[in-house]
């Protein structure tokens, strides 16, 4: 049994069909990355898992228990096991609260009154390598990297089994980005955490994720081990994404495959392969609808995969 098992998850906002059936699993201790252009539905997937976005169809099983559509009362104990890390953890929190209050807030929300919050704050700060006196600081007194650490500390408060992280390194300087990724890798190993990480930075994915899923228009189009996908991407969209990766070397030979145009409107999903209009490798057969096929743990939705 997987820790997290998402099956055919569908979300619509009115006529806007944002998720058109998303399926993947995450094992205990595993890091799974979701990548794709903005608007492809990554944030909606993890918000739906956490019960923060609607999902009209499909299933989300956590440790075998169905949690899609569960009531707030039913979800409450689960809030302990699944923690969200937001894109801008501190910006999304109240500027008037001290770091101590911010990172121990999950205890209060869970009604864990017997906890010694000072001691917990100290323990959590220590876990993310921040000095204990940071407990008395306010969000505006933190640097970008420190703020993200506080976000990690808060996510760890209730000793979750799964962390859902939305663009955890977006906007960070490279020097600090490495620190955060090292911290997350380290915590994962020490605490056996599983993570779902959303990022559009493929250079980051390579170093943190065991497996990855590539999303396009609210569907996975390719999935596999990070190693396999980087070595041999088979879906044209994945190939385009991988090639859109500026390298810190002016002499790098970039074999760039340009992604044409913009993603189509979710209100008018294209017929046949939904990537067809933008696909540099499209063929006649692509007016048919590609099905999800899995071979050797590598999932693919393409009628003419690259080899």
């Amino acid at each position: 049994m997987s820790l997290l098992d998402v099956k055919d998850l569908k979300t619509s906002y009115g006529p806007v069909n944002v998720l058109a059936g998303v399926s993947f699993t995450v094992e205990q201790g595993e890091t799974y990355a979701l990548v794709g252009e903005s608007g492809s539905g990554k944030t909606t997937v993890i918000r739906a898992i956490a019960g923060l976005a609607p999902a009209q169809e499909g299933s989300v099983k956590f440790e075998g228990r169905e949690i899609r559509g569960a009531s707030e009362r039913e979800l409450r104990p689960l809030r302990k096991d699944i923690a969200m890390m937001f894109q801008d953890p501190v910006g999304s929190l109240s500027p008037r609260l001290t770091i101590r209050s911010l990172i121990t807030e999950p205890y209060r929300i869970q009604g864990m009154k017997e906890r010694d919050l000072d001691a917990e704050a100290k323990r959590l700060l220590e876990m993310v390598n921040l000095p204990a006196h940071f407990a008395d600081r306010y969000p505006y007194q933190l640097s970008g990297g420190q703020a993200r650490r506080v976000g990690v500390a808060r996510a760890l408060a209730l000793e979750p089994k799964l962390i859902l992280a939305d663009e955890p390194t977006a906007g960070l300087d490279v020097s600090v980005q490495g620190e955060l990724l090292n911290l997350m890798n380290d915590l994962r190993e020490r605490l056996g955490l599983a993570m779902v990480i959303i990022t559009h930075n493929l250079n980051v994915v390579r170093h943190v994720a065991d497996r990855m899923g590539i999303m396009y228009l609210g569907r996975l189009v390719e999935e596999g081990t990070t190693e396999a996908i980087f070595k041999e991407p088979r879906h044209p969209y994945t190939r385009c994404l991988l090639s859109a990766n500026p390298e810190p070397d002016p002499d790098a030979r970039l074999e760039r495959i340009a992604l044409k145009g913009e993603p189509p409107s979710l209100l008018r999903r294209p017929k046949g392969c939904e990537f067809r209009e933008r696909c540099p490798f499209a063929q006649e057969i692509c007016i048919q609808t590609p099905q999800w096929e899995v071979a050797n743990g590598h999932g693919l939705r393409c009628l003419a995969p690259l080899s």
């Binding site: 252009e37 903005s38 608007g39 640097s143 970008g144 906007g171 300087d173 490279v174 020097s175 600090v176 980005q177 490495g178 620190e179 990724l181 090292n182 890798n185 559009h200 930075n201 493929l202 250079n203 980051v204 390579r206 170093h207 990070t226 190693e227 385009c240 994404l241 859109a244 990766n245 500026p246 390298e247 810190p248 070397d249 002016p250 002499d251 790098a252 970039l254 760039r256 340009a258 992604l259 145009g261 913009e262």
Partner: protein
């Protein structure tokens, strides 16, 4: 030099704060030649935005110019009457911000905004409209004629940024300043924008001052690079020199940190431990000393000057001095 467009000459800028003067820029010198793309790279807080707002003289009220000149085509912009400065902005020097909504007016159609930019032109309204559509086409907006009547919120983030670039180029400026224009975008859009900038730069033959903390983008786009740290230039040179033969430990570490060239999965990624020093309370000696793993006694005592090492390659580090090697 006749082909020099912009010369920043020993520029020092402070912010007056309750804690005393915050030394945001110290003794900054570099230049931008006609038609050249110069990248400015450095961690957040190193003064990139202060530099741009100083060039454009769009500074916060607590800004104090302490020293130096900003010469554009030989004329010191810091001495120009505000009226002339206004004429220059948007005509000879244009800017693209990180957030395109800083450029767009949400309640006016894109077409109206693009007409407004041409207020100085004597062309007919129809001609101005045609020119606006042509510019939208040039930045890759499909069906530009029809989309002129749409409002900013009707475009995707990537399109909004490309429209901001189109607007900035309308006046055919000599200098385009771009402050982290791709930072908020995902990788595919980022690549689209830099490729478009490269094409436009050739077409319009304008110089670009491109600010970014993304080394990959700098390496791909720029001819020359200026590396800033804590309000000072620590290194500058041709893009190949900077990336292949960095002469300042900060530059070297910055490049090492970029996961873009670590192709094997790394258990531990390189970082630069420590923080940028407090600019209101600067330490003596080299400003990078706290975080430098090659620091020597001399580094605590004296500020290393920015020195010419080879043609066009400068760095401010005592390691480059002969006596240090002994």
């Amino acid at each position: 030099m006749t082909d020099t467009l912009l010369e920043i000459d020993r520029l020092s800028v402070d912010y007056e704060t309750a804690r005393g003067d915050l030394k945001a820029l110290r003794d900054i010198s570099f230049d931008v030649r006609k038609g050249e793309i110069v990248g400015i790279v450095g961690e957040s807080g190193c003064g990139k935005s202060t530099l741009i707002s100083s060039i454009l003289r769009l500074t916060a009220p607590n800004t104090r110019f302490r020293q130096g000149e900003v010469r554009f085509r030989g004329e010191d912009l810091l001495q120009l009457p505000e009226r002339k400065m206004r004429d220059l902005r948007g005509a000879d020097i244009s800017i693209v911000f990180q957030d395109p909504m800083q450029t767009h007016n949400p309640v006016l159609s894109i077409g109206q905004q693009m007409l407004d930019i041409q207020h100085r032109s004597k062309a007919s309204k129809a001609d101005k409209r045609a020119r606006a559509a042509q510019m939208l086409g040039a930045v890759g907006i499909p069906d530009p004629e029809a989309r002129l009547d749409q409002f900013p919120h009707e475009f995707s983030g990537g399109m909004r940024q490309r429209i901001a670039i189109a607007m900035a180029l309308m006046s055919e400026p000599d200098l385009l300043i771009a402050d982290e224009p791709t930072t908020a975008l995902d990788a595919t859009l980022e690549v689209q924008i830099i490729e478009r900038l490269q094409e436009l730069q050739q077409e319009f033959d304008c110089a670009i001052l491109f600010i970014s903390h993304h080394l990959g983008v700098i390496a791909e786009l720029c001819d020359r690079v200026v590396v800033m740290y804590a309000g000072a230039v620590v290194e500058s040179g041709e893009v190949r020199e900077i990336f292949h033969d960095p002469k300042h430990p900060y530059t070297r570490r910055l490049i090492d940190c970029d996961p873009g060239h670590i192709k094997e999965r790394a258990r531990v990624l390189p970082t630069i431990p420590g923080e940028v020093p407090d600019l209101a309370n600067l330490p003596g000696g080299c400003i990078f000393r706290d975080r430098c793993d090659q620091a020597m006694p001399r580094c605590a005592a004296e500020v290393p000057p920015l020195e010419q090492l080879k043609d066009g390659h400068q760095a401010a580090c005592w390691l480059n001095h002969k006596e240090a090697a002994e």
